[in-house]
Amino acid sequence: MVAQLLGLKIRLLGNAFRRSPWQVVGILVGLAYGLGIAGGLVAVLVSARFVEDVTLIRDVCTVAGAVVLLGFFLVPLLVGIDDTMDPRNFALLGMPTRTIAGGLLVSSFVGVPALVLGLALLASVVTWSRGVLVTLFALVAAALLFVTCMLATRVSTSLAAFLLSTRRSREFSGATGVLVLLIGAPVAFLLLNVEWSRYGLDLLGGLSAILGWTPLGAAWAVPGDAVAGAWGSALLRLLLAGVTVGLLWLAWVALVARMLVTPGREAAAKHYAGLSWFGRLPHTPAGAIAARSITSWGRDSRYWVSLIMIPVVPILVYLPLTIAGVPEHYLTLLPVPLMCLFLGWTIHNDVAYDSTAIWLHVASGTRGVADRVGRLIPTLVVGIPLIGLGSALSVFFYGDWGPLPAMLGVSTCIFLTGLGFSSYTSARFPYPATKPGDSPFAQPQASDTGSAIVQSLTFTGAIVLSSPAILGLLLGIFVDPYWFMQSLYYGVGMGLLALVIGVWRGARAFERRGPEILASALRA
């Protein structure tokens, strides 16, 4: 039975190559990435064989290894991987729990993460091949680690699938995952800038001493101990690692047993009284579409991710630039236009977010203008205060009120031209988006080269049309304040023009191509 489950996993992997060419390309890219990482790790680990400072290697291995193991456990929880080998899929086959648990564990050994991990662990055995007994210890530790990591992902993947089975919790976890990743980026960046040369080694030693006696790091520290001749501590750590595997196995079997008799659970539905936004906005098609858009922004995790991105992006740009030595004085003018750029760009594929629900607009013969304008409203609700307050705050921190008109001009221009492009492209060139209810991490099944072109064109288009306004701001700062007002005039004028043209062309495309928009949603 174990062999059959393994065969099933291999067949599933093989079938992935039978889908559309682009998916095959995606798989090959993933495989290439995996092999690249594995190659790098193997090279580093093999060359570490010739480093004499055994303590250093042990500490690095322990800390890095603990992080890897933690990653194998946490990533499925955060990302919510779609599990083809979910134990519940086998519930109706009437197999003994242990057989299923074992079979699923063994089948998880097939796959890119397992391949990379296996290669790296084999290379780590090479690192420690400094004597027969030591190599033996390293081999046992590596085997234990491989099983530990695979058990950890199995347990956490199933735990995620099990606990996050309701729509709401799944979406919530997806959005949290994005938030954690985005916050993690600046933190990692700051960590990189700590003066490692001074404190690094002490910190590493201290961390490894602690982690080496936890289930996360014990097995990683075993060969280092063996080389140093501390056989007792090596054996003890091995024992700890063995117990970890045993406990994880028991947890896995218990989880499988529980899942086999528990169908998907359904959370109690929440009640929303009244019509909410629909009652407050004008009772016209455009008003209703605006109300529907705002409601979606509030209830759909795919929009949350876009909204979270907007304030985070300036931080991601800001930090490296300050560290690179760009004067902070000028950088204060950067965040607001940058946020406007992303906000305008957010809705460039808005129609595809509706998926096939767009049939309602097609079947009811909704006017294109109503559809376009309605979808703009949520971004305008966020964007107008952002431009007003944000520009004022920016020049306040800048310390001179002179550039305020130019700030307003640049931000307005980037925002409105972005909306203009988005209004056109979302109707004319919808491309497959994450489906409603899927995790925001889930990639759409179908994708084509068109999507990349649309993304980059709407993005750069707004910047190109706004460049005279940006130039005005720069000239105002460095040459003559006269240019500040010119930037405002140009920015507002160009922005409004681009928006009107975008809405007009977009509305026409929407009315003419309704069935084609629906067809592309059906293909996605």
Partner: protein, 243 residues
């Protein structure tokens, strides 16, 4: 006619649906029922041919034609992040109803379909049958002249199905036209006055129920036209149980 690449899904369907009739379309899986209904409602552009609803060409004057048609598509999503009440309001407003009319009709429809308790819940949390009912309600809210319903009774419970049937029969009695597709032969035989049998994209029989079924039942006539029953042979092992 509709082609998907080299495959012709629907070829030469020539149907006359009289105003005020209750018209059923039946056919085996993949016969082209959904394709046909999608082309009638303006959701799928045909490669050739024309569709007229009350004298208006659907593909030449889509806006006017769509005003006359109420649609219940099969397997398309709804805006399920809205509550039932919001979805009804949304459908009504997109169809050009004013605020008061939408609210009154929403209340009536909710009562008629037994959805009052569900109105304040997200459509995403509805069961399959409830989703079908709210979609049906949305299709009717603008009092169209023609209702085009794709599988309206799929996964709807028997009590609701009877209610819905009654609503549709009254609608037809007052001059409305219903065009629906279904797998339920009994139901079509009982409810519809006209029927068309579609197999592999062509109409094999159409007319009043009595004409089409002749002396047998509609189900027998349908199975005969759709290629007859395949006699299951070599399944004896199923009759000797494994334990």
């Amino acid at each position: 006619m509709k082609k998907f690449g080299p495959n012709t899904a629907v070829a030469g369907i020539d149907l006359q649906v009289r105003a005020g009739s209750f018209y059923g379309i039946v056919g085996p899986n993949g016969a082209g029922k959904t394709t046909t209904l999608s082309m009638i409602t303006g959701l799928l552009r045909p490669n050739a041919g024309s569709i007229h609803v009350h004298g208006i060409d659907v593909w030449a004057k889509p806006v006017q034609a769509k005003r006359l048609i109420g649609v219940l598509p099969d397997r398309l999503r709804l805006f399920d992040r809205l509550t039932g009440a919001q979805l009804l309001y949304y459908s009504g407003t997109l169809r050009g109803l004013d605020n008061r009319a939408v609210r009154e009709r929403s209340a009536d429809l909710a009562a008629a379909f037994g959805l009052e308790d569900a109105l304040n819940r997200l459509v995403a949390d509805y069961s399959a049958g409830m989703t079908k009912k709210i979609a049906l309600a949305c299709a009717m809210i603008h009092s169209p002249r023609v209702l085009v319903l794709d599988e309206p009774f799929e996964s709807v419970d028997p009590v609701s199905a009877v209610n819905v049937t009654e609503i549709l029969q009254k609608y037809v009695a007052s001059g409305g036209t219903v065009l629906l597709s279904s797998h339920g032969m009994d139901l079509i035989q009982r409810v519809c006055d006209h029927v068309a049998i579609i197999v592999q994209g062509t109409v094999l029989a159409s007319g009043t129920i009595a004409d089409v079924r002749g002396t047998s039942t509609l189900e027998e006539r349908f199975i005969e036209l759709a290629g007859g029953r395949t006699v299951a042979e070599g399944m004896e092992w199923l009759h000797s149980f494994s334990d």
